[in-house]
Symmetry: C2
Subunit: 595 residues, 2 copies
């Protein structure tokens, strides 16, 4: 079906059902970061392939709201689709609700498919539109019938994430969850985030790009545990183990009926920002709701000692892969054609040589020169360029391993570093180091230390438009909450940084048309000391990869920063070099010489 | 009447009216920081003279909730009063509401006098207690009838704050307020904070300790302005000027009836945290309420150019007084008996020599040795001690002048500085300096830069338990919102630091039984520069008083910190010395030598 024809058909259905506005978000029933093809409704309907957007259709308007990253792409892809690009003023805000409030008349009706709309967004619709007399129907799917060849539910087999890596058995984890539930006075906990479920049951799968997730729901009561999943995806041995561990397995689609059957008056804990509206409505009719950060999200944010042990070793493996890659790049840049894309592929090859490698943890950002200034740049066949022995190359990549998840950014000079590049690189690096060196009282939240990463740039009238740190999963999502190191203090970001949390430290600077610079390490929060003023925590930098000293202007360094870098480089060399060949080792020695 | 008898009488009245719990806060109808004697109900009833506390009375319990600053004092003062001390776990939180929720049965009734309870607190009562079936009556005054010789409403005459100081006439200010009201779509603005009213009308008075305030209410509509005040307090000339400026003067008590008479359906802007419940209820019956930071509060937080000009000159005067005081102290400490109290008096004498001095801006904190560790220490006849040529002396003081308000803390060594004192002093000073040197993007809030003031202490496992900066009025309250530099981001603190704001920079360290150290300067936010990354702001330190270099361990200083201090001392000497005599000048030269 032509794109414009799909729009015509949807409008016909709207007229038939008396719907004035129809809303389609870019989310799936689990509100994950990477949406499986089955739920790429906006792409099917409009042709737009960006990762953020929302669609509204009325009788005489059809629009896609997206942010500035995608303005050019959307204009291109929406041409002749019948959809207009609506430019978001502020990224990630529901400005389409403002539009609805201004556009719809009293008595008009808005509809959407509640299975793919989060309860948080539904509530915003209700809060804003119901008072002005707009009717809302959250149970209208106008697209499935029209979607010929819609991708099926992913059918990959799941597998066990061994306790040797996970550190705790699923029985132990479920008991931890129940302990929290008892303390909170909660009878049922509904789990809908796929990483919560994978963590809780020590299972992994292949249903989502970049993250080893399994499409499923789960419910934990004080006595029982239910996993809602397509049973065909469970290998027999694992199925038996789950049964042995008293996990009741029910079909994926049964979750809605199951929730309606929970004893009237029970207290049910769920997270409104990640629970879809259909699911929420199934619960709310019979139960009291407790809203908050889900218990597995809180529990897994603090890595257990087994996980922390793996992370240390993992960082050596990942560091070896990165070192080999950068060595290879330096040796071959003048010998063969290397592009952003081929370099990304080569880096994946080096990671694949390491034990337990399962794939990249996100789409590699390989930005040469001006491409580095595009914060979410991901090279494709259209944009790909060859690397030359000149200018800056920003490489942000990570791996999924059975023993953890990595995320590292390095910016290297491929040749002829300029004064401006050196100054900017050094200021960014001062930020990475200053944050890494921070010691802070227990209870400190990410936003309270973030300025340490920005200060050197601020001093020179510079800044960057993204957060400084995100949590990282353990062989799970590379972006994992609830902790962040950001500049805002709203919502779940108001979470203290606690020992065992794994988090990124990644300030940057982006100069349009010129270059981008970012230096990103992962750090683990650990206890520092207890004094008469209380308990203090600090970070341990765990990522092991040299930092390009050619780009450092040591005059801008404080003595403590210089010491930090030299200590770090000593550690990088001593940990990584045993796994390198003679030539690589010699090269790394040079790369890690004291400044 | 005996204290216990008062309690008996109140309980009789409770029984007669069917009241199960009676609440008395330590606030007045205007929710100011310094409560006039007329509203010191808790002191009259219980004998407790502390500055923070709340009272609850039931049939079989009478308690005073206060924070750890006052535990010893309250235990002492409440003895045989019939009131028990209830220790707050977290200062400034309404833990008495938890107690009520736990103690009162369904159907019980809570009463209070809404004229002295803020709408914010009333709402907390309603939100927490109404759902559990407790009835709330906000119109019950059980104490006035019993209060023999209750202090009268202050009757001091008001006076004009000349436009030469204020920078804008009242007509111009009212027009600014109306401009904001039009933009907000508001018909009436109710002003209840005394500093808002004093600022708006360019009037000052003597009704409140330490702040030149006048007890009054005001209402501004898009066309008219009403001032509710005891007319006997207005000198004839000023009264004529107010009438000429179209200010309608009505009696103070008429505000409640007036508010009830506002046209039904009007939109009324007020600030729930500072409006008392009786007043709020007078409005809410007929109007739509818009809640927020009041417009005068926002407007006056940004000092106008005339005010800023005065502040620069004022700081010279105040610095001269401080310099003379410290010179006198050094010359006389071994010659005569000087105590915390007599030193405070002497400092006030030096300030009184300066033009336009009107009185201290708060009770001087003069803490010698271990007294310095008590954050809100205010010497009295019982605690006063003599200063000796040994140990640390913390002095936090300020003046009210027609041309502005000051607030300065200096900690000096009176002799034999120890290594620990020097280290701690230097770490605190690094905080003062680091915050003062900060440059930050437009839109940055106080909590986003506060960590710069704490970092040096954190590095040594130390910290302090108060905020780092508060706004300061212009010949108004020494603590003035809405901006702060604190560690929390909640509520009105989420306010960007904008050019023209005057704010304190005052980290500290407090070692119980040993000493307290704080170095406080006032800083003004000013524009720094505009780059491709946006507009940047910075601070200008305006307080001019030497910092005790005997206490500095320069090894702990970064080069930029040393440069800052030497530049600052150069400025202090050049600005202050012309107003000193030869001996004082020579002494200040030494005090301000480069480190």
């Amino acid at each position: 079906m032509e794109t414009t024809q799909k729009l015509v058909e949807i409008r016909k259905k709207m007229t038939a059902s008396g719907i004035d506005a129809y809303f389609i978000p870019m989310t799936d029933p689990h509100m994950g970061e990477y949406v499986p093809d089955r739920w790429k409704t906006i792409q099917w309907l409009t042709g737009f392939t960006g990762s953020a957007g929302n669609v509204l259709i009325t009788k005489d308007f059809a629009g896609l709201w997206t942010d500035s990253r995608y303005f050019l792409q959307a204009e291109d892809q929406l041409e002749n689709s019948g959809f207009e690009l609506v430019k978001l003023k502020i990224p990630h805000t529901p400005e389409y609700i403002d539009w609805l409030e201004e556009t719809l008349d009293k008595g008009a009706s808005l509809a959407f498919d509640g299975e793919v709309v989060s309860t948080g967004i539904s509530n915003m619709f209700s809060d804003r539109l119901a008072p002005v007399g707009i009717k809302i129907n959250s149970e209208v799917d106008l697209y499935s019938e029209l979607w010929v060849n819609r991708p099926k539910m992913p059918l990959g087999m799941i597998y066990e994430h061994d306790v040797e890596y996970a550190g705790l058995t699923r029985t132990e984890k479920i008991e931890q969850i129940r302990e929290e539930m008892r303390q909170e006075g909660v009878g049922y906990h509904v789990l809908t985030s796929l990483d919560d479920i994978a963590w809780t049951f020590n299972i992994r799968g292949r249903d989502v790009n970049y993250s080893p997730l399994v499409i499923a729901y789960a419910v934990v009561s004080l006595k029982d545990t239910w996993l809602f999943i397509n049973v065909d995806k469970i290998p027999e041995l694992l199925g038996n183990k789950l049964l042995y561990d008293k996990v009741k397995i029910l079909d994926y689609d049964w979750v809605y009926e199951f929730l309606k059957s929970i004893k009237v008056g029970s207290t049910v804990f769920l997270s409104q920002t990640s629970v879809n509206t259909r699911l929420y409505n199934s619960v709310v009719t019979v139960c009291r709701i407790r809203d908050g950060v889900s218990i597995p999200t809180s529990l897994k944010s603090i890595k257990n000692p087994v996980e922390l042990g793996h992370i240390e070793k993992l960082m050596v493996k990942d560091g070896v892969a990165l070192s080999r890659f950068f060595y290879w790049l330096e040796q071959n840049i003048e010998k063969e054609r290397i592009t952003e894309l081929s370099a990304s592929g080569k880096l994946e090859d080096f990671r694949a040589e390491q034990d337990n490698f399962m794939g990249p943890s996100f789409a590699t950002i390989a930005g040469y020169k001006d491409h580095g200034a595009i914060i979410h740049y991901e090279p494709n066949l259209k944009t790909d360029v060859a690397l030359e022995p000149d200018g800056l190359f920003l490489l942000d990549s990570g791996g999924q391993y059975l023993d953890g998840t990595t995320d590292t950014t390095r910016t290297v000079s491929l040749g002829n570093p300029t004064m401006e590049e050196k100054r900017d690189f050094t200021l960014v690096l001062k930020g990475t180091i200053q944050l890494a060196m921070t010691r802070f009282p227990r209870g400190t939240k990410g936003y309270q230390i973030e300025p340490f990463a920005r200060r050197a740039l601020w001093d020179y009238g510079m800044n960057y438009g993204h957060g400084t740190g995100h949590g990282v999963g353990f062989f799970l999502n590379v972006h994992e909450g609830p902790q962040t190191i950001g500049s805002s203090a709203s919502g779940s970001r108001d979470i203290p940084l606690e020992p065992g949390m794994l988090i990124s430290d990644e300030p940057g600077i982006y100069k349009e048309g010129k270059y981008g610079i970012r230096t990103e390490n992962l750090v683990v929060v650990e206890r520092s000391e207890e004094t008469e003023f209380g308990v203090f925590n600090r970070f341990k930098t765990v990522t092991l990869c040299y930092i390009d000293t050619q780009l450092i202007d040591t005059d801008l360094f404080l003595p403590a920063e210089k010491d930090w870098l030299n200590e770090y480089h000593k550690r990088v060399f001593s940990e990584i070099s045993p796994f390198l060949n003679r030539k690589e080792r010699k090269w790394l020695k040079k790369k890690t010489l004291p400044v």
